[in-house]
């Protein structure tokens, strides 16, 4: 069951040009795909189109050969879970309460989470080593912990696909490593991960598929080892890009 994107175009109501231009793409099940590109290239817009937060002007998104455009947000939330860049409006909620909101699409309007579901919160928290955060408020935990809690909420939402909009943008190196390692682990369970990033090294670390975007179109796509090459990245990031490969690490950096 893969995602197929066909001739997708989108323009913001206040904008002049298409932010996404006739985009065609296929993403296989159980893979990680990293969207790379400069600010304003359309990464976040594309992720929001997948999540259903924006409605495409033309084209289609298919999941398991079925159109997702006609689905209600409830039905769509059973396919795509979404981690936004910022979750500041959750600051006053306790982590244990916030996690339960992942169950909302499986409950009727008058229902609250069952004891089984609350047990599941405990299980996932233990797995992701965040049990010590459960009694804290979202505003009291670090940016890295916050991202892990958001990912835990997506796991409780139990969707085949998880979308993350620049999940490491506000994190230090240690927390970037924790979050990316977690994503790699989740993919082994068959989940499909789609994320946007500014850092090509994240794709190298995840050994993921890469989609390189520029001005709303796909410049290159394929396996990370095919795309993360100096001559390809120079097209986007400029001439100063360099690549170093040692015994222990590979890295893209600026000269």
């Amino acid at each position: 069951m893969s995602i197929n994107v066909q001739h997708l175009s989108y323009k913001y109501p206040s904008g002049k040009d298409d932010v996404i231009k006739n985009l065609n793409l296929s993403i296989k099940d159980g893979t990680i795909t990293v969207f790379l590109g400069l600010n304003g290239c359309g990464k976040t817009t594309f992720i929001k189109l997948l999540a259903g937060l924006l409605k495409a002007d033309s084209g289609e998104i298919l999941y398991a050969d079925k159109k997702v455009s006609g689905l209600s947000m409830k039905e769509r939330s059973k396919i795509f879970a979404y981690v936004p860049q910022k979750t500041y409006s959750a600051d006053d909620y306790f982590v244990k309460d916030y996690l339960t909101y992942g169950f909302i699409n499986s409950l009727k309007f008058y229902q609250t989470p069952s004891s089984e579901q609350l047990d599941k919160v405990q299980t996932i928290s233990e797995r992701l080593s965040i049990t010590h955060l459960l009694t804290k408020k979202m505003g009291q935990i670090s940016g890295g912990e916050r991202q892990i809690v958001s990912i835990a909420s997506c796991l409780l939402q139990d969707t085949p696909i998880i979308l993350l909009d620049e999940p490491t943008s506000a994190l230090d190196l240690k927390n970037q490593n924790i979050v990316l390692s977690l994503l790699r682990e989740i993919t082994k369970e068959g989940k499909t991960i789609i994320l946007s990033s500014h850092n090509p090294n994240h794709a190298l670390f995840l050994e993921s598929n890469v989609v390189l975007m520029d001005k709303g179109t796909i410049i290159k796509q394929g396996l990370c080892k095919e795309i993360i090459k100096v001559e390809v990245l120079k097209e986007i990031y400029g001439e100063n890009i360099c690549y170093s490969e040692n015994l222990n690490y590979k890295e893209i950096s600026f000269q």
Binding site: P13, S14, A51, G52, L53, S72, M73, K74, R76, S77, K78, F80, A81, Y82, P84, T87, S89, A90, D91, D92, Y93, F94, D97, Y101, G102, I104, N105, F109, Y110, T112, G139, Q157
Partner: protein
């Protein structure tokens, strides 16, 4: 509800019943507790005057005060959650300004008390509808455009109210309009209770039923929608309930400030932000607060004090205390 919420709910409910009974006994005509119970639970003719005062004057007045407190506290809480802003009041989308214009027009034209309430209620609802329609013209679906539309429509209604007051007779209608705008429970009768009680009751039942979902709606459009909530439906439903509660209470009691801001803050200070806990406590705390305000307004001096002045006096002091207690939280963010 967790144990803490249940405990506070039961304690506040007991206090609420005590304040309710106290409100029926105090006033210009003092009624002793023994006379009170004799008047309410027996047919003793020796306390006929007391019975008449309790049942015809103080009972409807106290019930209307409690319902107004409940309605305004809950609608304040709902607006604050939906617009993710702890400082917004129930008047955010212009409902109170619209209601005030409706009442002022009715007073200017010399209509009866019932028509004043009806016109006030209708114009309050119509004002919010105009706000919603105007915000749709911006076509970006963001909450900020709704707030902006509310400020514009509310501002228009305030200007209209100024015009009406300018043309009103200073000796008669102007003073009535001004007095109405300051809020009062003086003209409360049981007929008003029969209208207001079902509205508040139904709204409270609906809100308690969906209270867990309101938390998710309060996360904002992006998160709520991707978690599977029909955000626009719930946003409209919650705004609709908050508007209905505000318009119906304002129609009977005039505009009353501060309570919609103070009670939700007080409740959040005790049980946190989860609306499963805050809504039940807003019901009891809001009712108690307004009954106490009403007692104070009619007993402090020989003349009745305007309700809004009393809520403003107490509300601001309580609000400062809450801010001082939560000083650390505000410093963090």
């Amino acid at each position: 509800m967790n144990k803490k919420t249940v405990l506070f709910f039961i304690i506040s409910l007991i206090i609420g019943v005590c304040v309710f009974i106290f409100a029926l006994t105090v006033g210009k005509y003092e009624i002793s507790m023994s006379d009170f119970f004799k008047a309410v639970f027996t047919a003793d003719e020796s306390v006929a005057t007391q019975r008449s005062i309790i049942l015809n004057l103080r009972l409807p007045r106290t019930i209307i005060a409690a319902l107004t407190g409940i309605g305004l506290s809950i609608s304040g809480l709902l607006y604050q959650e939906i617009f993710q802003n702890k400082l917004v009041s129930p008047d955010l989308l212009g409902v109170s300004s619209g209601s005030a214009v409706g009442a002022a027009v009715a007073i200017l034209l010399g209509f009866s008390s019932a028509i004043i309430s009806l016109l006030s209620f209708c114009l309050g609802i119509v004002t919010v509808l105009i706000t919603l329609i105007l915000s749709r013209q911006f076509k970006n679906g963001k909450s900020i455009t709704l707030i902006l539309a509310g400020i514009i429509v509310g501002g228009f209604m305030s200007a209209a109210l100024s015009m009406i007051k300018y043309f009103a007779d200073p000796m008669t209608t102007l003073s009535t309009i001004t007095y109405w705008l300051m809020g009062s429970f003086e003209n409360s009768i049981m007929k008003k209770v029969y209208i207001l009680l079902p509205i508040v009751l139904v709204c409270c039942i609906v809100l308690i039923t969906i209270s867990w979902r309101i938390n998710v709606v309060a996360l904002g459009q992006e998160e709520a929608q991707t978690k599977g909530i029909n955000y626009k439906f719930y946003q409209l439903l919650i705004i609709g309930i908050a508007t209905l509660l505000t318009a119906s209470t304002v129609a009977f009691s005039g505009t009353i400030s501060w309570i919609g801001l103070v009670v939700p803050h007080l409740v959040r200070l005790i049980v946190g932000r989860d609306t499963r806990r805050t809504i039940p406590l807003c019901i009891t705390f809001g009712g108690i607060f307004m009954m106490l305000v009403d007692i104070f307004s009619r007993t402090f001096t020989s003349q009745e004090l305007p309700v809004s002045a009393v809520t403003g006096l107490f509300g601001t002091v309580i609000f400062v205390v809450i801010l001082l207690i939560r000083r650390r939280d505000y410093n963090v963010h």
